[in-house]
């Protein structure tokens, strides 16, 4: 167990180093001029000398490997740099944005997991029925629906047309942070969460369906049926345990898609989360923020995959036996 965690931590460290190098190479070769994105529109008003000073202050005149080492050193000391567009430390922004994003992602993750699992079971238990076909085609259609377009439709119908929910943001415009009530916050969450979770149901439902069909065709189910077990009881005793672990671990491993969906959804709903920040950073040439969020997303996805693996090791006894044989 401890060995497992240590091995995974080592993997994360090497992954982070590799990703930081890769993303640094990508970003530093961009045609975007960091000085210009720092100064903004008044770039013409600074003299070449001032410009040189800024470049020297940031270390832009040094060689690329040197710049990278300086950045890595700073990151190790917990300093991700300062964002150019928000004029705040990157770590502060990430923390603030992530706390907004995690609410959105967490709720939709739970909802899509629960409903996807249930839909998958319903479809798989009634294979070939109309219900199964309906769920299957729903999942396939949802898998090819662009998330942002779906969000736009929801906005059009429920916010602009029916006026049930606000059009965007995480709280009413113009109100102070302390005044926002929980109800207001929830109201702003409904549509983004719906966008993320209605689409997110698809993959988990299809996976669960396939698994349960596989289980239902196994020998032990045939034997249980021969003993006279049927319906819910059969499922509860022999089906659920066999399909729940892979489904849960698949759902943990889908953090990457969740993050990608959140980026698009936050953009549509102008929800002030991490995804919107990375889009702004990319469009505004804010290199420190872009790199910071990239590294953070790696950690986020890694945690998901780690949980998925951990579940197997901790819960599934078969994995333990295998491990001792290694």
């Amino acid at each position: 167990m401890i060995k497992f965690i240590l091995r995974k931590t080592g993997k994360l460290a090497s992954l982070l180093i590799a990703i930081s190098l890769l993303s640094f190479i990508l970003v530093s070769n961009s045609p975007e001029d960091p000085v210009q994105s720092y100064i903004g529109a008044e770039i013409s008003r600074i003299s070449p000398e001032q410009r040189k000073n800024i470049e020297e202050y940031w270390g832009l005149n040094r060689s690329k490997p040197e710049q990278y080492l300086l950045w890595v050193k700073a990151v190790f000391q917990g300093n991700l740099g300062e964002s150019l567009i928000y004029r705040k430390p990157v770590s502060e922004i990430i923390l603030e944005r992530f706390s907004a994003s995690i609410v959105l992602m967490g709720i939709s993750w739970l909802l899509s997991g629960v409903f996807g699992f249930l839909l998958g079971i319903l479809a798989g238990m009634n294979e070939g029925s109309i219900l199964d076909r309906f769920i299957k085609s729903y999942s396939f259609i949802m898998a090819s629906t662009p998330a942002f377009w779906f969000g736009l439709l929801l906005l059009m119908v429920f916010a602009a047309w029916l006026n049930w929910f606000p059009v965007g943001l995480a709280s009413p415009a113009g109100s102070l942070a302390g005044e926002v009530s929980l109800i207001d916050k929830l109201k702003h969450l409904v549509l983004p969460v719906a966008t993320l979770s209605i689409g997110g149901v698809a993959s988990i439902a299809l996976h669960t369906r396939e698994k349960i069909i596989e289980v239902l065709n196994s020998e032990f189910i045939r034997f249980a049926k021969a003993k006279g077990e049927r319906g819910i009881k059969l499922f509860w005793r022999h089906g659920l345990r066999n399909i729940s672990l892979p489904a849960i671990s698949l759902h943990f491993a889908s953090f990457g898609e969740l993050f990608g969906g959140a980026v698009l959804t936050e953009q549509v709903f102008s929800y002030p989360g991490l995804g919107q920040a990375i889009v702004k950073a990319g469009l505004g040439g804010d290199v420190p923020l872009l790199l910071g969020i990239t590294l953070f997303s790696v950690v986020f996805i890694f945690v998901g995959n780690f949980m998925a693996d951990l579940l197997y090791v901790v819960i599934d006894p078969r994995m333990k036996i295998k491990q001792t044989h290694d």
Partner: protein, 287 residues
């Protein structure tokens, strides 16, 4: 073996129709739809794209089936042009990434150190969300058509490469490879004559299934503002423009282009899945 067969061929399945024939028919229909789309994209004139303020903000009618935007441009023409563009971008990106996946996975046969490098690279790319990688790459390349194609090609190969590697791993342990090896054939020869032919069906299906992903990601990245420039008739551009007209009640701006995109992606997806049923029935007919 009997256990395997009963695992993959559930007894419940009705025998009324031939699944293979049905899959073939569905794929032909799908291919025809896509062909019609691309060809109509060629032949449709650009007359509808001319700015015409007299016809601005029209709701869908017989003359303009998808309505017109605030500049009087016909949304149907814009949508079809956008889909054609998406198709070519997706085709190019999927082709390049299938090529990358094939070449990198074939390294498994030739050299062990190189292969572990490839595995590391696959892990590296899968450790980042697609969208973030796309943003980073198109940030470096400064957006535009070239940037989008390169970014899409570089982000979509790992999944296919993984599939191909698993396949190669299986083939590599078969007897005829050992025999061939004992007869003094080089790995390069074996890769070309024994392994590559085995990979072709997987590769083609993987290529087609990469397509919908690439198209969706192209639209997403353009929607976010990193992809194609706003003067191009791309679905992402149309939808991000439509975002500004949400509260004006012009529902047709967003509904139809997105729906058509969804249709195209879904057709591609079903084409890929049906072709897998035909070419790789053992695995493909499970679902």
């Amino acid at each position: 073996m009997t256990e395997l067969i009963s695992k993959y061929l559930p007894l419940k399945r009705s025998e009324k129709y031939n699944r293979r024939k049905r899959a073939l028919a569905t794929s032909i229909i799908g291919a025809l739809i896509l062909l019609a789309l691309v060809i109509s994209g060629f032949f449709i004139g650009t007359d509808g794209l001319v700015v015409n303020f007299e016809a601005a903000n029209n709701a869908p009618s017989l003359q303009h089936p998808f309505g017109t935007d605030w500049l009087g441009r016909d949304m149907f023409v814009r949508t079809v042009k956008g889909l054609t563009l998406s198709f070519w971008v997706g085709l190019l990106a999927a082709f390049i990434s299938a090529l990358i996946a094939l070449l990198l996975s074939l390294l498994l046969v030739l050299n062990k150190t190189l292969d572990s490098l490839v595995t590391g690279l696959i892990d590296l790319f899968l450790a980042l969300p697609h969208i973030v990688t796309l943003i980073l790459i198109s940030f470096m390349l400064g957006g535009g058509l070239k940037g989008v194609v390169i970014a899409l090609a570089l982000t979509h190969w790992p999944r296919l490469a993984r599939l191909l590697r698993a396949e190669i791993m299986q083939i590599k342990n078969t007897e005829y490879i050992t025999v061939s090896r004992n007869m003094g054939k080089s790995w390069y020869w074996i890769a070309r004559h024994h392994i590559l032919p085995h990979l072709i069906p997987q590769l083609i299906i993987g290529f087609i299934l990469t397509f919908p992903h690439a198209i969706l990601h192209e639209a997403s990245i353009t929607f976010l503002g990193f992809g194609l420039s706003s003067d191009k008739p791309a679905i992402g551009v149309i939808l991000s423009e439509a975002m500004g007209y949400l509260s004006s009640g012009m529902w047709w701006l967003a509904l139809f282009p997105g729906l058509m995109l969804l249709l195209m992606v879904a057709v591609f997806d079903s084409l890929g899945r049906n072709l897998r049923k035909v070419f790789d029935p053992f695995k493909g007919q499970k679902g």
